[in-house]
Symmetry: none
DNA sequence: GTGGTCTAGACCACT
DNA sequence: GTGGTCTAGACCACA
């Protein structure tokens, strides 16, 4: 038996200083993972409780994130067995991935400008970034 | 309109989709501007009302952001004349600027990785970014 | 000023013995009220807290019911001012009202049959029902 | 298949959309059948497994329903031979049957009112109901 | 005072 | 042990 089958191919990381609700950060990261193909239909997500422990948050908060994604048809839950990426063709329009990437990029450049870092310095910063 | 003496050298931009509270976004941008040296001790900030109009938000929200920064000693208000960057504290510590830059950079690289964009592609993205 | 303007034209009643989740009972009653025309676009619903008190339940439970209806686009919320029936053309297909009525009727007849009450007795029961 | 002696005079029907727990729906229907006299002391209920198959549910769920009724003294189980309506207790109190009927009637009238159907229309609805 | 988010912890339905 | 519902109570953003 291979335990990598359906292993959730996703690492969550919260940014407590961002001010964004935790449940939204989780939703975003699942969406991103689906958009980028790291999570695929049928994949099992971490259990509510295990993810709550991992993220040092409350199970209700995870349940809420999963719940909203379920309402949108992106996840399906099977009580007693877990939460899965829905088989339903996900809304993986190439466009929505590109739009997201552009959004993240724009915010990054804006934030860096606010911090006094100009665009041409960003390349060096990124190249010098390790882990 | 007259933007002469002590004109606030800061442009605010809100990201409503981020989920982050507005007052925090404002606080962050003021902090960033101070850290990067664009705002300096003695500089005058926009009035609560004018900024509320500009950002299409509630004056209370601006008041709250200014209030928190005042509690931290970063701003001082002089009733009848406005809100100013405090000159008591040496708010510009080189370290905290670098720490902030590193934080923003790390989150950006993480988000892009979540979206399936690897580090070496980021340089091209940034160079190709206009506007 | 007339206090009947936008007065919520809806009386909630929970059936604790039904076993159905409270938040679902609330959702159902709002849907029914919209289907039957008693609640119309723009109408304001009771506040979360007041309804929680009225139904002797927890505000979170009401918030959840309202929240799910908002996700479906049936309600809209304006923080600080209340929760309203969405202007968006509600899904008031004549069919869905009739389907609901038929469902409720079928369940009633089935339950009564289970209790040993035959259809022809039902008419007398209903006619004899007061209040 | 042989449905001879003490054949359970009860047909179960679940309403998955009601939100009511399955085990409660089963309990209710057994109670109703007893109240209405269709199940009498000494009658044998379906086996847990056969009912689980029939209702496409989990045997544990049936076991739970039977278990609760046994705790209340309404059923008795005789290991190896089955589950029976208890004959110790006079479970059929005329009052509790009437109370139940009244409850079901009240809820029906309330639901129909919520759907905009007035009492005087109900008679026609019921008379026109076939199936 | 109105809705939104979160925690801590309980109990339930189900595998 | 997995998800679902609920309570009680805290703090936040906003009008």
């Amino acid at each position: 038996m291979n335990s990598t089958i359906n292993a959730p191919n996703i690492k969550f990381s919260l940014d407590p200083s961002s001010g964004a609700p935790i449940y939204r950060q989780i939703i975003q990261q699942i969406e991103y993972a689906i958009l980028s193909g790291r999570l695929r239909p049928g994949d099992r997500l971490p259990t509510i409780r295990s993810l709550a422990v991992e993220l040092k948050t409350n199970p209700n908060t995870i349940a809420r994130a999963y719940g909203e994604l379920e309402i949108r048809g992106i996840l399906t839950t099977q009580v007693g067995s877990g939460t899965f990426i829905s088989d339903k063709k996900p809304v993986v329009e190439e466009d929505s991935l590109n739009r997201k990437i552009r959004e993240v990029l724009a915010r990054f450049i804006q934030d860096m400008r606010d911090l006094g870092v100009e665009k041409r310095e960003l390349v060096r910063l990124i190249e010098g970034y390790n882990q």
